[in-house]
Symmetry: C2
Subunit: 360 residues, 2 copies
């Protein structure tokens, strides 16, 4: 019987998924919801209870909907575990424990004093994860991590690219979190997660991040595309229209305009936002060249502009792109508060649910 028990596992999967969305159901409600018979629903619940995935909540239907025999409510057991949603930024780290319903059941924060020194971030990460897990009281099943630096797709390590700020320093989030994650550790950079959170808008779009650093995420056919080594969207070296009509690398435009912080590769956002009309036009031109490239290579329905100064200069960008032969709608990012965390949460929830239903 090679594929006979497949149908049984399918039934169990349906039951788990129904409980994820309705939190608690009686066996009769499960049968009606899924479209299976009551005996089948009962058997499935028994199996899942034996495996520790489902438990009788102790609640009874009495007092709810009229007469009839009382029913027992079942729900997912705490043993199904939580997912760690983690954001590592230069200011500090956030670790949240998400349960299977998407609720944040615990949260811990640690500040980092010396960024660009990986061991600081690693220590903060371990401590925050320990605190959050202790507070949640449930086992972790996996971790989804955002880091404010380019991430190597194969290893999950942060990589230092020339001319790009290296905010967090040498850090291997997979190695740091593996002991606490209880499963896979998925790492990607913050821009990609922010794009992930705006994914419902379109199946093909680009997210242009314009802040202290420069980044871009490409969403194609509904998924964030990372490329071979995970460096899709590292746009510092794209050739664009610089001052005087010269072809200049994108990041160098800001140097030539005197908008890079001294002794750093980061952009001085304050000075940039206080710039005059000519400066804003020059920046708009430069961004326009990048837009032309992303239009050519990603053909997005729209271009979402985020970051600390991108939305403020959106008119200059629109003006620069208005004359281009091919255009794409340019709009500011929709999510303004914690877009990165929103994307990380969404992925953590989706993966946690898959891990539970797919398991064995």
């Amino acid at each position: 019987m090679p594929s006979q028990e497949l149908v049984r596992s399918l039934t169990d999967e349906h039951v788990l998924r129904a409980l994820m969305h309705h939190r608690r159901l009686t066996r009769a409600e499960l049968a009606a919801e899924i479209g299976i018979s009551k005996p089948t629903a009962g058997e499935s619940v028994r199996r899942l209870a034996d495996r520790g995935l489902v438990a009788d909540t102790g609640e009874r239907t009495t007092g709810g909907r009229g007469r009839g025999r009382v029913g027992s409510y079942y729900s997912l057991a705490p043993a199904v575990g939580v997912a760690l949603a983690t954001v590592i930024a230069p200011e500090g780290v956030v670790v949240e424990c998400l349960d299977v319903y998407g609720d944040t059941v615990a949260r811990a924060i640690r500040r980092i004093n010396r960024p660009t020194h990986g061991s600081q971030a690693a220590a903060a990460l371990t401590a925050a994860a320990a605190e959050a897990l202790a507070s949640a009281g449930q086992p972790a099943r996996l971790a989804v991590v955002s880091a404010a630096d380019p991430v190597d797709r194969a290893t999950g390590r942060l990589v230092h690219l020339p001319d790009s700020p290296f905010l967090l320093g040498e850090l291997d989030p997979v190695a740091v979190l593996a002991p606490q994650a209880g499963g896979p550790v998925i790492v990607d950079n913050d821009v990609n997660w922010a794009a992930h959170a705006e994914r419902d808008a379109a199946r093909d779009f680009a997210y242009l991040f314009l802040g202290e650093g420069l980044g871009c995420a490409v969403v194609s056919d509904g998924e964030v595309r990372r490329g071979h080594s995970g460096l899709t969207g590292e746009i510092a070296h794209v050739l664009t229209l610089g001052p005087g009509g010269r072809a200049v690398r994108f990041i160098e435009v800001f140097g030539e305009l005197g908008l890079r912080r001294d002794g750093s590769t980061a952009i001085d956002v304050e000075r940039l936002l206080g710039g005059d009309a000519a400066t804003r036009a020059a920046i708009g031109q430069a961004v326009g060249g990048v837009v032309a490239a992303v239009v050519a290579f990603a053909d997005p329905l729209e271009i979402v502009v985020g970051g600390s100064w991108g939305p403020a200069l959106i008119d200059s960008i629109r003006a620069a792109t208005a004359r281009m032969p091919r255009r794409a709608a340019i709009r500011p990012a929709r999510l303004t508060s914690e877009p990165v965390l929103a994307g990380v949460r969404a992925e953590a929830l989706s993966r946690l649910r898959s891990a539970i239903t797919a398991k064995d």
Copy 2:
């Protein structure tokens, strides 16, 4: 029994797939190959024969492998049909009928006298398809079409972009072929299909097409990505490094070097290939800028260079990209003879097989 017959359809699917790869098998061989019992294999064959998908070939095992009772060979019936693999180029159209084994069972060619006049191409297409289908003697199930112009993803129609040669003219391959295709008509441009054919090399790469026209295909996570409207890879307007260090649109570089054909937007390949060292270096610089952009937005493992003059200038391109902060391996295209047709054939075969196994 909501999902009970799922396992039966799975069995049938396995049988069909086994027959696609082995062409003819006895029921006992099917059972051994798939890992099911002989009675189950026999039942499945009976069902599929009733549906007309499988037929006794009349061949018997006698004379082959020693003693024992003779077995009956079964194979897929001709009624499973063929896929139309179609290439539309300015010179003419090719229509091939591919059977489920990937063999070309019929082929028809029509020349086109007046390109850029869509009705000519449409007539040639209809005639070639009719000839090929008559010769094949099997019903068509779907068509996969390559066109040497940008293709609108939503409609399958050819689109005219500014500064890009419009070789075939207004043409709606879906409408033209629908009556003969017997199913869906999938249309994409030639560069994407050529990239499709090189897909086994890597899951993330870019295919740079440098010929009379300029194009690029982006393969990400193993699939050719088309973008929202299907115009991914239309690189004529990417800003790059032009003569004198100015930021120039890619296509304009060729105009400034005097390499565009008079009265047309096409590149004069002969003159280009006869150019001096300075010209080749200038072209290499310009292509290098495009490479920088594709590296930033697609992060390919390698960049495959094809087209009529691309491979010939690969050293100039490599020299221009050698100094770039981020690099990707650049290599000439592997498939040189009919890469487009190879990609179209591969997709047609894959879709034909899916259509047969998924049906009902």
